[in-house]
C-alpha cells in the first residue's frame, strides 16, 4: 500500500482490508479445516495447515482478485501448502512393491475376481454405502499414498502440476497411483462387494 500520498485514505483502506480479512477467518476457518483434515486425517497437521493458509493469504492479499470467491482462492492456497507439506515430509523415495498382486511372471496372483461390480458403473456414484467404503479404503492406504491420491482428486489438477508441487517424478507418481488403485480395488472387493453380493 502506498501510504506516502494520503495517510488518512491509507489508514482507512488498511482498516477495511483488515476487517475483510478478519471476516474471512471467521467465515472459512472451519471449512478449510475440514478440507485439511480430509487430506491429512490428523487434527494437529490440519490445524497447522489452516494457520499457514491464512498467513500466506494475508501476505498475498494484494494478489487476490475479486474474480474468484475468497473461498476458492483460499482453497487453492490450501492445496499448494498441502503439497509443500507433503514434499517436506516425504522427501525420500520408497520402493513400491507389487508382489502382493502379481507373481514372478507379472501375471495376476488372484484370478477369481473377474465379475464386474455392476452393469453400469455410473450407478455406483449414487450408492451411498459405496462412497463410504471408498473413503474408508482410501484412508487405509499408507499416508504417503493416500495424501497423494487425495491431492490428485481435490481440484482435478494435471499430473505434471502435482509432480512439480510434490517434487516426485512422473514415473514414481504413476507407480504410487497404480499401487494405491490395486489396493483400493482389493479393499472394495473384500468389503463392499462381498457384503452386497
Amino acid at each position: 500500500m502506498n501510504c506516502a500520498k494520503n495517510a488518512l485514505l491509507c489508514k482507512k483502506s488498511r482498516l477495511l482490508f483488515m476487517s475483510e480479512f478478519e471476516k474471512w477467518v471467521d467465515l472459512y476457518t472451519n471449512e478449510l479445516y475440514k478440507r485439511a483434515f480430509y487430506l491429512f486425517s490428523n487434527k494437529e497437521d490440519a490445524e497447522d495447515l489452516v494457520q499457514e493458509v491464512f498467513v500466506a493469504a494475508y501476505a498475498q492479499l494484494p494478489k487476490f482478485r475479486n474474480e474468484s470467491s475468497p473461498l476458492t482462492w483460499l482453497n487453492s492456497i490450501l492445496r499448494n501448502k498441502a503439497a509443500e507439506f507433503y514434499r517436506k515430509k516425504y522427501e525420500t523415495e520408497t520402493k513400491i512393491r507389487l508382489d502382493h498382486f502379481f507373481n514372478q511372471d507379472k501375471f495376476w496372483k488372484q484370478t477369481n475376481n473377474i465379475e464386474s461390480w455392476t452393469d453400469d458403473e455410473k450407478n455406483l456414484l449414487d450408492e451411498e454405502s459405496f462412497r463410504e467404503y471408498l473413503i474408508k479404503c482410501l484412508n487405509e492406504l499408507p499416508e504417503k499414498w493416500n495424501i497423494l491420491v487425495k491431492l490428485t482428486y481435490l481440484e482435478q489438477k494435471k499430473s505434471s502440476e502435482i509432480c512439480q508441487e510434490t517434487n516426485i517424478t512422473a514415473t514414481n507418481y504413476w507407480k504410487i497411483l497404480q499401487r494405491s488403485r490395486l489396493q483400493l480395488r482389493e479393499c472394495l472387493e473384500t468389503n463392499w462387494f462381498k457384503q452386497n453380493a
Binding site: N30, Y33, L98, F107, N113, S116, W117, R181, L182, L184
Partner: protein, 93 residues
C-alpha cells in the same frame, strides 16, 4: 499356456496396470496405446480391472465433497485457538 505367450508378447499384466494409470492422468504414446488396447482385448482380468479402475477414478473425483462434509466441525475452543494464532502471526506484518 496361450495366456502366457500372450502376456509376453503384449506386455505383462503388471505393466498394464501401470499404463492404465498413466492413461488416466496423462497420455500414452501410440505404441503404448496399441499395446494396452490389444492386451485388454485378450486378457479378461485386466479388462475387468480397467473397468473398475475407471469407476473408482470417476467416483474419487466427486468424493471429496462428501468426505469433507462428514468430518466433524472444529470445536469452538479449537476454532478460537486457531483464530488467535492467525491474528498473532499476521499482526506482526
Amino acid at each position: 499356456m496361450l495366456k502366457k505367450i500372450l502376456h509376453i508378447t503384449i506386455l505383462p499384466c503388471k505393466t498394464i496396470t501401470y499404463l492404465i494409470e498413466k492413461r488416466i492422468s496423462s497420455s500414452l504414446t501410440l505404441r503404448e496405446k496399441i499395446q494396452l488396447e490389444l492386451h485388454l482385448i485378450v486378457c479378461k482380468w485386466c479388462a475387468v480391472y480397467n473397468k473398475k479402475v475407471n469407476a473408482i477414478h470417476q467416483i474419487l473425483a466427486k468424493l471429496h465433497f462428501d468426505a469433507t462434509n462428514k468430518i466433524p466441525d472444529l470445536q469452538q475452543s479449537d476454532l478460537e485457538k486457531i483464530k488467535s494464532e492467525i491474528r498473532k502471526k499476521t499482526e506482526k506484518n
